[in-house]
């Protein structure tokens, strides 16, 4: 397939939402999800769709080096990856603009590096090709935060949810994207341009779909937009809505002639010369397709690929989503992790050492070289490599990254503990994020806090 793939992998500074998880040493693309960098989920997926020519766009020199090092070791001989550095804070459209000259294929697939999904990009690309679309966007159901969430985090999620919603208008075949309003505007009433409804006859308005940030673009159109709309920074918020908006504008040019004939003749026909056909149905069906197809000479089409509800689709763009994704990848969406789970529904690396009376519950991953003391209990959590965990430690619904030291009697619940953190005796964490290298003092209790070392803030 003549597709070029651009993976927008972000950098280290791009999202404040992910601090303190993202640091200089761990750019966003390398955040571990079930002990694998999040970027690997997107890359594996592309590989599975036989899309092997990739440009990975990373913001910032240092982050790019880290990503490059990881990609070249992990995907050597598997993918042809070119890691490209762009400056920070360009936004997704800005990053694309920066590499615009490298795009040569007819169609461009743009994937966000933080996407964890099992929807095959190949399917989106095929839909794009079939419809001859200018852009095809992957839309998926808004993921639900599972029941295992604690009260506070689900409360947080509720507050966030409406913001993430898109209002999407689709035609009756659910292929064409007619209207899109991005999340931030949703607090207001929704306005739909009447002309659009008049042209299509019927529009389905969905507010339960999420833009998964996976797009297939026709290269010429993408480059055109990037060139002419220099102010556009975001694909999701600006480029895509612009393309959707400008769909109907092509009418006055060449294609309009056919459209007129169709509607005009039908109007005359209905009262003029009679044909033994009911005009009810003649005019009706397929009108949009005809309209659009007849106009395709001048205009363009925006399509949507809607993932079925059973597909998993989630973007890692907030702390909450990080916890959700980790939970899901070791839980209900375990097929994504690429690991094979044991009969107890967990993975315990053979090199790890467990003390007596220590239990590892289902939906857990314990990576190589980690040691646990006696009477520990781990439930629905991920524990990274070479962690040293003392006795009487409880870890529930949490992510513990690599080289973490947890001393006796600690309780960790609903938290994320980054690399090289030290938890001294009897520390209690609930719904906290602990940045890399932080030391949690003995006996301290933290609830819903974000803990990070001072220097990493600089």
């Amino acid at each position: 397939m003549d597709f070029q793939v651009v993976v927008l992998a972000g950098g280290t500074s791009d999202s404040e939402k992910l601090s303190p998880l993202v640091s200089k040493d761990v750019p966003k693309a390398l955040l571990p999800v079930a002990n694998r960098p999040v970027l690997s989920y997107a890359l594996d997926l592309l590989e599975a769709s036989d899309l092997k020519d990739l440009i990975v766009v990373v913001e910032g020199q240092e982050a790019a080096q880290l990503v490059d090092a990881w990609v070249s070791s992990a995907y050597l001989d598997r993918l042809r990856v070119e890691v490209v550095v762009v400056s920070e804070d360009l936004g997704s459209a800005g990053a694309l603009r920066a590499i615009s000259k490298r795009l040569t294929a007819n169609d461009i697939l743009v994937v966000s590096g933080d996407l964890v999904t099992d929807v095959l990009p190949g399917a989106v690309a095929a839909t794009h090709r079939r419809n001859g679309a200018a852009v095809t966007a992957l839309l998926c159901s808004v993921p639900v935060s599972g029941p295992s969430d604690t009260a506070s985090s689900s409360g947080k999620d509720k507050a966030k949810k409406p913001n993430r919603l898109n209002v999407v208008g689709l035609d009756r075949s659910k292929q064409f994207l007619l209207h899109i309003v991005s999340g931030t505007d949703v607090e207001k009433d929704v306005q739909v341009h009447k002309r659009k409804i008049q042209v299509v006859g019927r529009m389905e308005i969905r507010s339960d779909l999420m833009d998964a940030h996976l797009y297939a673009f026709k290269r010429t159109i993408l480059q055109d937009v990037l060139e002419h709309k220099e102010a556009y920074r975001s694909i999701r918020l600006e480029v895509l809505p612009y393309l959707v908006r400008s769909q109907l504008r092509s009418a006055p040019s060449g294609g309009s002639g056919t459209a007129v004939d169709e509607t005009g003749s039908s109007a005359v026909q209905s009262s003029g010369n009679l044909q033994c056909l009911s005009q009810h149905r003649v005019i009706a069906s397929s009108a949009f397709k005809q309209n659009v197809l007849s106009r395709s000479s001048g205009g363009h089409r925006c399509c949507a690929y809607i993932a079925t509800k059973s597909k998993y689709c989630h973007r890692l763009n907030s702390i909450q989503s990080y916890c959700d994704i980790n939970r899901d990848v070791i839980g209900e969406a375990s097929h994504l992790s690429g690991y094979s789970f044991s009969t107890q529904n967990n993975i315990i690396h053979p090199s790890s050492v467990l003390g007596s009376k220590t239990t590892i519950g289902p939906h857990c991953i314990l990576a190589e070289g980690s040691q646990l003391g006696d009477k520990c209990s781990v439930k629905r959590s991920v524990i990274g490599r070479h962690c040293r965990i003392g006795s009487n430690v409880k870890i529930v619904n949490s992510v513990v990254m690599n080289h973490v030291v947890i001393e006796d009697g600690c309780h960790i619940q609903g938290s994320v503990v980054c690399n090289n953190v030290q938890l001294q005796e009897r520390a209690v964490l609930k719904d906290c994020q602990v940045g890399a290298g932080y030391i949690v003092t003995a006996g301290s209790e933290h609830k819903a806090e974000s803990l990070a070392r001072k220097y990493s803030e600089l």
Binding site: I197, R202, R249, A267, S278
Partner: protein, 737 residues
């Protein structure tokens, strides 16, 4: 008398129904129907002045016949016909056609309900409610509906829904029909509507009819969206105006006595105001026919559908009016009664109907038309796409295209009726007269605005029949005085009998724009092209309005202009207020209050007021003065003396005093140059009246020292005075020391 009778009957029916309920609880209450035999609009004027709309023949049968036949076949047991206008005619018809007084199993009992003061469907339903005859779910329909749909599914859906959710009070029948993009109307000539429907439950969430293009956007409330993650916006549906209602609907109309229109008030009311959480659902008609004859275009469309048998079994050869002879279907959709006298050389084209006892002369051509009973059509007549009712006489050589010709009309030889005309009962058209397109002609005069009938037209601006010039002058009496329609055409006539017997109605207000929309004639080509251009223009505007970056840029440049504008507007208002005060209308305290109010309204500074008030005072002096400088000085002094208190009110700080000086300067330079020579003389006076203090004057002079030469004119003029002030100040200082 008739009133009493209907009442008695209604009561009887009610009692029987309730009696049944007691005897056998398992049996559902009989299905009832309310048929509105009055559309409460004026769209079929002028014909409806003489005959109610439901009795107008649609392919040889009155419309109400179609509706009643369908109701009976759909299993309705009890129908209440609500009649208002021409109620005696409707009742007479029901008697004659054998509907009234029918009884026995399998047949529908029809009861007429009469009211003369109802002006809307809402009123009609309130009357029905008062009669207390409806006991269960009922079908609400208007008497001009043609349908062959099966009600069973819709009824079942309605019942099931009600069982689950008692708040589901109404099920609307809708059907697919895509309006033209250009004309924004459906085949039936109805305005397009926009509905939002939940695709799962079919609940109606939004309804907008009369979707004129003044609103570019459909606005959907965010709450609707929050409660329904998926909803479908339909522009491709037509409202059939067949509703299955729960009895609550009637009480809702009674509770909300301002509801008039079924859709615009009732449906919108339930959707927008969320009354008691009642919900409306839709039933999409997928097979079967349903259409309401709302206007002339739908009359045309539905007629043709009937001829083409889409409405089977409601087609001419299956059900025919009870008293006329049977008509038979021939090839190509031609229906002919058995006793038609047809010249061998006459040509009847496809999809035409010819009624009994009608004779058609040599070399006539009838295409796509309906010709009623007892018509006499001469030779060489061309009838195309028209509806000729009963007993019409058309003489030789006439041409009728796409028009409606009512009973008893007489077209004399050579008359031409252009597309879109409506010739009401017994109108006569003279020899060789051309009736221009879209004319409406009636023997009855057009009601003027004061006519009480106009009130019928609540919220309905579509058929704007408005005040018309006295038409009596245009009335032609037989053959003697004639109306020269189309002067040049009538000039060619050889005999004196040209003109039209009858009044030609005008529809001044909405004009031709609406005329072509809902007439029988097809939409003219030019109109379509015109609309096409409008559509492409639309496209451009859509893009602009959608572009969020544009308005931002405009805003910043606008604001400066607006600011200037703002102040000058304020000054103008202050001046006007001041003028009123001069006229003696306002006393001083109130004047200050008013000016302060204006200042707040325009959100300006106190100093701006000082300038504006000073300007007003000086202006008044200028008005009072004669042109010479001496009198101007005197009137200025008078005005300042009179209003010094007012001015002092605004000159509490040096800044405000400065403002007055600067304003004065500006006036002298720009607006009122008359003062420029008097500047040095007025300045001391301002000082004397303590409007301006010496501090302010000195500061003003100081500031001006570094200004351009042109700016210093007035400082220089009053140099002497300033010098004197300075010296006086020094003296003061010395004294203090």
């Amino acid at each position: 008398m008739s009133h009493k009778k209907s009442r008695g009957r209604g009561g009887g029916g009610g009692a029987a129904a309730s009696g049944d309920g007691h005897e056998d609880l398992a049996r559902p209450p009989p299905l009832q129907a309310v048929l509105l035999a009055d559309s409460f609009t004026l769209k079929f004027r002028p014909i409806t002045l003489e005959r109610p709309k439901v009795l107008l023949p649609l392919v040889h049968m009155p419309m109400i016949e179609y509706t009643l036949t369908w109701l009976e076949s759909a299993g309705v047991e009890d129908a209440f016909v609500f009649c208002c206008a021409h109620s005696h005619q409707v009742k007479e018809y029901l008697e004659k056609a054998g509907w009234a007084g029918k009884s026995g199993p399998g047949s529908m009992a029809v009861t007429a309900v009469e009211s003369h003061d109802a002006i809307s469907a809402g009123d009609a339903l309130r009357v029905i409610y008062d009669r207390g005859v409806i006991h269960g779910d009922f079908v609400l329909i208007s008497g001009d509906t043609v349908s062959n749909m099966s009600l069973k599914d819709a009824l079942q859906e309605h019942m099931d829904r009600k069982k689950k959710d008692p708040l589901a009070v109404m099920t609307m029948v809708i059907k697919h029909s895509k309006p033209s993009i250009l004309t924004h109307q459906t085949r039936l000539g109805n305005d397009e509507i926009v509905m939002a429907i939940d695709p799962e439950t079919k609940e109606l969430l939004y309804y907008e009819d009369r979707a004129d293009n003044s609103h570019l956007y459909i606005t959907i409330d965010k709450d609707i969206l929050n409660n329904n993650p998926t909803l479908q916006l339909h522009n491709d549906m037509e409202d059939c105006y067949i509703d299955i209602c729960s009895p609550e609907v009637l009480s809702l109309f009674t509770d909300n006595f301002d509801y008039q229109h079924l859709r615009r008030h009732f449906v919108k009311g339930l959707l927008v105001d969320d009354i008691m959480g009642y919900k409306i659902y839709t039933h999409e008609l997928r097979s079967g026919y349903a259409a309401r004859i709302d206007n002339f275009r739908s009359y045309d469309t539905v007629s043709k559908d009937v001829i083409q048998r889409w409405t089977y079994p409601m087609v001419p050869d299956v059900i025919s009016s009870r008293d006329c002879s049977e008509s038979r279907l021939h090839r190509q959709g031609v229906y002919k009664a058995s006793d038609v006298t047809l010249s061998p050389s006459a040509q009847i084209g496809a999809n035409s109907v010819v009624g009994s006892v009608t004779s058609i002369g040599d070399h006539c051509k009838v295409l796509n038309s309906v010709i009623g009973e007892g018509c006499k059509i001469g030779k060489n007549v061309l009838i195309n796409g028209s509806f000729i009712w009963d007993n019409v006489i058309i003489e030789d050589g006439c041409k009728v295209s796409n028009s409606l010709v009512c009973d008893g009309v007489h077209l004399r030889a050579g008359a031409i009726v252009e597309p879109g005309c409506v010739l009401s009962f017994k109108v006569e058209v003279g020899k060789n007269v051309v009736v221009p397109a879209h004319s409406k002609v009636s023997l009855l005069p057009q009601p003027s605005n004061e006519d009480s009938d106009e009130e019928l037209e609540y919220a309905d601006t579509n058929s704007g029949i408005t005040d018309s010039p006295p038409f009596s002058s245009m009335r032609s009496n037989g053959d003697q005085s004639t109306v020269p329609l189309e002067e040049d055409e009538s000039g060619t006539s050889e005999t004196g009998t040209c003109g039209v017997v009858g009044y030609i109605w005008t529809s001044v207000d909405t004009g031709i724009v609406e005329e072509w929309r809902q007439s029988i004639a097809p939409i003219p080509k030019e109109k379509l092209e015109e609309l096409l251009h409008a559509v492409s223009d639309d496209d451009g505007s859509e893009d602009e309005s959608n572009n969020p970056t544009l308005p931002d840029k405009d805003d910043s440049s606008d604001s400066v202009v607006e600011d200037d504008d703002h102040i000058s507007k304020f000054e103008k208002e202050v001046e006007e207020t001041f003028q009123r005060a001069l006229g003696g209308g306002v006393n001083r305290d109130n004047l200050i209050l008013e000016i302060n109010g204006l200042r707040l309204a325009y959100s300006l500074q106190h100093a701006d007021c000082a300038g504006a008030v000073f300007y007003s005072v000086m202006k008044s002096a200028l008005v009072a003065a004669q042109s010479t400088n001496d009198t101007l000085l005197k009137t200025t002094a008078d005005a300042l003396g009179k209003w010094k208190d007012l001015l002092r009110n605004y000159t509490k700080t040096v800044d405000e005093e400065m403002e007055i000086l600067l304003k004065f300067e500006e006036m002298c330079q720009e607006t009122t140059k008359e003062f420029s020579l008097l500047f040095p003389k007025i300045l001391p006076y301002l000082y004397d009246t303590e409007v301006v203090s010496e501090d302010a004057i000195l500061r003003w002079a100081e500031e001006k020292e570094h200004a351009d030469e042109s700016d210093k004119v007035f400082v220089k003029q009053s140099e002497g005075f300033i010098k004197w002030l300075k010296e006086a100040e020094e003296e003061d200082d010395e004294e203090e020391e």
